[in-house]
């Protein structure tokens, strides 16, 4: 046992000495490699945490939403639809929702305006999300000017500011009274933005949705499951940032691998020959290469993951914030709950450490199987 440990430690010693010979090159290698792991792990942590939080939080979203479609666009829905939907068996309740977007030309930001009956607001007053409070410098009692659909000014007073803690949901929200909402957007009575449908038996949601579509062919039901699925897919591998990062990482890795594969220089080949000649077995040489590859990749892996965790969960993902922000100026200040799992780490390990280590060993394989007597002739 101690014999094996001694042997591996001796070989590791030599592997490290070997790496230290090209200090600059290998330091650069570890740095770039760490950055690759950092980028991959950041994407993974960020998207996983976001997805998990979305799945958890949006589980409470309305189970069924019905929107009216006109010429492929979402349109106002007549309240008369409510009664028709109520007739369908299994429907418990139908509630209209009033919501929409308002573009604030003053600061060039988009708000989401929402009417909520649970906390009815007096007319001429609003509650604003923390993000709006920030960009508009608003506090309780501030007055905000809006322009109605017909160009007439509407002044609304801020009555409350939504909790900063829920900014991931409500940063750009403005809660408003139904009367003000209709005045602002000129929505006639008898219409709503869409309807939420409560179904008695959760198993029947799909059936109810199908029936709604059958009776009201100009509507589009949106199921909670679909919403959840949307968030499952929102940062999948096809998403822009993810692809950029993955491509970058892949490219960097290919450069490494190529460098490794092509990089078994005459010098390295000669060294392998010498080792064989002084009594190292092929397996010993491969173990040496294994340690060389592992020490580089494990170092990069551990550092990259730790840095990524700091980046995403302790520093609130500054690099991704700028990407997600895009052209918008109203951006929520949110801190993600660090949902990380061992399986994520295992996947990262498998995709970063394993290939590099293998890429280090494989090219040496051929060199390591040469006959030791070759070295007598060099």
């Amino acid at each position: 046992m101690s014999h094996i440990v001694n042997k591996q430690r001796n070989i590791l010693d030599f592997a490290l000495s070997s790496l230290l010979r090209r200090k600059g090159r290998n330091l650069a290698l570890v740095t770039v490699y760490t950055l690759v792991v950092f980028a991959l792990a950041s994407v993974m942590f960020f998207t996983q945490a976001l997805k998990k939080e979305a799945a958890l939080v949006l589980g409470a979203t309305p189970e069924l939403i019905v929107q009216k479609m006109v010429a492929g666009r979402h349109d106002l829905i007549p309240l008369s639809y409510i009664d028709q939907i109520k007739k369908i068996r299994g429907v418990a309740a139908v509630t209209p929702r009033l919501w929409g977007y308002y573009y604030d030309p003053l600061i060039r930001a988009n708000y989401t305006l929402l009417v909520n009956d649970t906390y009815p607001l007096p007319e001429k007053t609003i509650a604003v999300g923390a993000g709006i409070a920030r960009v508009r410098n608003a506090h309780r009692g501030s007055k905000i000017n809006f322009f109605a659909y017909d160009g007439k000014p509407v002044v609304l007073q801020v009555r409350g500011i939504l909790s900063e803690e829920s900014e991931l949901l409500s940063s750009d929200l403005i809660l408003i009274s139904a009367a003000d909402f209709r005045r602002l957007f000129g929505i006639p009575a008898g219409y709503a933005t869409d309807l939420t449908v409560q179904v008695r038996n959760q198993k029947e949601i799909a059936t109810v949705a199908a029936k709604i579509q059958q009776f009201l062919p100009d509507t589009r039901p949106i199921l909670r499951d679909e919403i959840m699925r949307t968030y499952e897919a929102v940062f999948d591998w096809r998403a822009g940032i993810v692809i950029v990062v993955l491509l970058g990482a892949l490219l960097a890795f290919l450069i490494f691998a190529w460098d490794k594969a092509a990089g078994l220089s005459a010098e390295e080949r000669r060294e392998i020959g010498i080792l064989k000649a002084i009594g190292w077995e092929t397996a010993d040489v491969l173990q040496l290469k294994f340690w060389e590859g592992l020490s580089v990749s494990l170092t990069a892996f551990l550092l990259g993951i730790i840095l990524a965790y700091i980046h995403i969960f302790l520093a609130a993902a500054p690099l991704f914030a700028t990407v997600i922000k895009g052209w918008s100026i109203l951006y929520p200040n949110f801190r993600l709950t660090p949902f990380v799992s061992f399986s994520q780490i295992a996947v990262l390990f498998f995709f970063t450490v394993a290939p590099y280590t293998v890429a280090t060993i494989i090219p040496s394989w051929r060199a390591a199987t040469i006959d030791p007597d070759q070295v007598m002739r060099t």
Binding site: H74, Y103, N116, F313, K325, S328
Partner: protein, 103 residues
């Protein structure tokens, strides 16, 4: 000290930090539960359907509620059209309205 010792101590140290990271994640997640419960309540009472990640365009603010065509009607700088959307800026006249003030 021999090189392998230094290296093993370094790796052990990193692994320790990584365990601390996991511990931190564990306690953070546990500590966030009341806050997550509050978020769930917000979704429930306000009947929200989406996360407020980016207010850039309708289909990015409310991905689940978007019209079928909205990615094409909305902001041309959207990332849907990768890589063009991610790299090429939309025409000046269109992005003007979305840009922050510049003095």
């Amino acid at each position: 000290m021999r090189k392998s010792s230094i290296f093993l101590i370094f790796i052990l140290g990193c692994t320790l930090v990584l365990s601390l990271v996991f511990l931190d994640a564990h306690f953070q997640t546990a500590g966030d539960l009341p806050f997550l419960r509050q978020e769930i309540k917000v979704v429930e009472t306000l009947k929200l359907t989406d996360l407020c990640l980016t207010t850039e365009a309708r289909h990015t603010r409310h991905p689940s509620q978007a019209d079928w065509h909205s990615p094409f009607q909305s902001h041309p700088g959207a990332l849907d059209h990768f890589p063009s959307g991610a790299i090429i800026q939309p025409p000046e006249t269109i992005i003007k309205g979305y840009e922050p003030h510049r003095q």
